[in-house]
Amino acid sequence: MEIPFLDTILWPIKWVVELILVAWHYLWTFIGLDPAAGLTWVLSIVGLVLVVRAALIPIFVRQIKSQRKMLEVAPQLKKIQDKYKGKKDQFSREAMSRETMELYRRTGTNPLASCLPLLLQMPIFFSLFSVLNNAQKGLAGVGPLNAELGKQFGDATLFGVAPLHDTFIGAWNAGGPWQVMLIAGLMVVLMTASQFYTQLQIMAKNQSPEAKNSPMFKQQRILLYILPLVFVFSGVAFPLGVMFYWLTSNLWTMGQQFLVIRNMPTPGSEAAKAREARLAKKGKLEPTKGAPAIESIPEPPKTTQRQQPVNKNRAKKQGDKK
């Protein structure tokens, strides 16, 4: 990259990215893959994703845990939502967000992840971009990726024709190879499909009734339709190597989400009911530990009216009716 300032910030991250890439490359070569093959380098990129995403698991687990705790504050959350029900003006919505956030803070149940996981991945993404960019020129990286490996990475091709550093737009302008365009196109489709599926899974199955009523939910729905556009644009402009990183990362998210929805669904969601049904079938439904059901049984309305004394026989009849 041409921006020296950014390069300085990214230097340590680039160094680590290169180290992980080279380590995986070494491993794949060690078990007998061709060191110069495109596939070997793609697998190294996949390895990089595995390491990065595994490192992010603790953050994810924390998020899940606080979502579990949401159950305890569900009634309070409902109260806030009822208070602002039908009020669509900006001030009411702002006040509602304020109260909701304050509730999260008070009870330590903030379900939002902050932008840190994204911020962490962004420099890795840029670093990979820049490593590929340099490798394309046959330049050495900043550390473990020496000149020889850098050249190898830069020259690596898939199917012998599609270089990993090439972009759809580059191939388009140069009039080929068409394989680059095909692979890029395929990846855009796969990325869109996996993202769509992940989002749909979360929205359709893993949302508590409270969350489904929040404005956040509507925003997520819009997201569902904007993301494919983003993928198309980036799929045209990004080198194949970077696209492989993104695609693998998407697939990881999909798998992770699937496991979470299956085994640790949000209480009160469709997925939670499905899980209970599954466990009940196997006959090992553990009793919920003091956790109240989301739809608590409505208390009989308290009346100040005196209860009419009932004759014994009549009381018996009423009892039978139940």
Binding site: R62, Y104, R105, N110, A113, S114, C115, L116, L118, L119
Partner: protein, 102 residues
């Protein structure tokens, strides 16, 4: 004359406002609500820049982003109010002089 000077003084922060508004309209919705605070980090930075200019505002914004991580408690965290409101905001969020023709 004063209004020209004010416009020049306010130019950097209005540029920053434009960039942040663009970011909030295009990029923010891409990953939905993730901020653990209210207002969100970008909204906080926008307000800080509107009130105090690009340098102080950006620094406050960066400090806010640094505070917003999965282990933070979150909650309400407004920009500390300035002592004297010298400017006025347009509906879009641009900062303009509060006196004069405008």
């Amino acid at each position: 004359m004063m209004s020209v000077v004010t416009a020049i003084v306010l130019l950097p922060r209005n540029l920053a406002v434009l960039i942040l508004r663009g970011y909030r309209a295009v990029i923010s919705p891409l990953y939905g609500d993730v901020c653990r605070y209210y207002p969100s980090c970008s909204s906080y930075t926008l307000q800080a820049i509107q009130q105090r200019g690009v340098v102080v505002g950006s620094a406050m914004g960066l400090y806010r982003i640094a505070r917003c991580h999965p282990w933070a408690k979150g909650g309400i965290d407004d920009v500390p109010p300035v002592r004297r409101q010298r400017y006025r905001l347009t509906p879009f969020g641009f900062v303009v002089a509060s006196h004069g023709k405008g």
